[in-house]
Symmetry: D2
Subunit: 140 residues, 4 copies
């Protein structure tokens, strides 16, 4: 995968606390960056209202392969695309790209199920979110 394979890219500047005792960013932070890129997109492009909306997205599964270290300070790009857009769930495919490096430092995926905020039961993806997500499907 290359950065061009991801129609949306979200920049993330690493933080001091992302580093672990081995002098590179801890593996766990990559998932925090995935979460950030996905939710920033849903809020900005799809109208997700994380504080008061009726529908929220809950992560039910995630995965990451770590291939190269990332350091502090540094700004990476989180590449985001949609692998599968279902009735009430979406599978995102993500990768972390360092500046000037073609191969991703990490590659993973993340599944959101959209639920009603009040009873946390699955609900169809609202139109605004669906339209935004459909734009991240790979072109045929």
């Amino acid at each position: 995968m290359k950065v061009e394979d991801y129609p949306h890219r979200h920049p993330v500047a690493t933080r001091w606390a992302d580093n672990d005792v081995y002098g590179h960013v801890n593996n766990v932070e990559y998932y925090a960056w995935f979460d950030t890129a996905i939710n920033a997109y849903l809020i900005g492009e799809g109208g997700l209202d994380i504080r008061a909306g009726d529908t929220i997205g809950l992560c039910v599964e995630s995965h990451c392969e770590f291939r190269a270290p990332v350091t502090f300070p540094e700004t990476v790009a989180v590449g985001l695309r949609v692998g599968k857009l279902g009735h009430s769930s979406v599978r995102y495919e993500l990768a972390i790209f360092r500046a000037g490096v073609a191969a991703p430092a990490a590659q993973g995926w993340f599944v959101h199920v959209f639920v009603r905020r009040d009873d946390r039961r699955p609900t169809p993806i609202p139109d605004g979110l669906r339209t935004a997500l459909a734009r991240l499907l790979p072109a045929e």
Copy 2:
């Protein structure tokens, strides 16, 4: 999977900051708990020296399925076992158990490759660590 399927259990008390805006622990924290349970075991039982040892463990892949919410304050058990113990790598299988609930709130896995600290090249798992890890293999 049940808690009895995991020969080692590491307690984790949730923290205020583990909660996200939806009022439950953020999915990312489960990976931080996996990391904590694994490294505490390697240090305490296997002699891993995270500050000065020649050999360190790097995460190359991880995965988690999230099935039920966890809250703050609450103490969960991280169940840990070894699924595959290789020459220089180990695959851990983990699950999060809430008190009094048989089904895991989350289940996942995590792969460490052991490398030399100085050049980050793979190296055989040292004897002390291997002995400690072998104790977490399932009984035949």
Copy 3:
């Protein structure tokens, strides 16, 4: 200050990610432990309902002096007492104690203003919380 000067003590087990690149717990985490000890006490002893209650506590000021390093893995005690209990605010005094070490590894304070959840305006501390907080005032 000694641990006996704090009527409430909340244990905190350090986590892998608390460590920074210098091999000890990052200063920022001490504040996260303060937050955790305070809120766990308010929830468990004072009936604070962080998800749906009308009154919530917002931090308006905090402070910490760092005197000795803390490591991973390790369990510390967060000592908690109330320095000043006002109409709608409370000043907590806190310290971090390592096992078997009389002098605190860190010492600080933290001010909560209680507000209405809906408009975030200051509100008198509810009776249940006030009773619980008063128990942490120093004896005369």
Copy 4:
């Protein structure tokens, strides 16, 4: 204080996990941003080598007043200046500014003591760091 009072400004994009259950950024994260702004400056402008340098900066005291909420997603500016530059220590003054808002959302300070990495004893601030820090002193 206004943003113009801080000669260096470091942008920080909030992350999903910065939010707490009350729907705004948790107070603790502001300290993480202070740490990030300071260390990014020391590394980029002063030659601090966090992985292998002989001299490192340890936080011995910090403080913050919180005046207005910050949300996700949002990019804030961390204003940084030097209040006092001593022989082996430095006191930073910091503030968090939201886009288009003159009054800081938070204001605080942070004291670094520079120590030798090997024995953690105080050491004079190296010339490169001192020169970089002196540029952040207020003009007379």
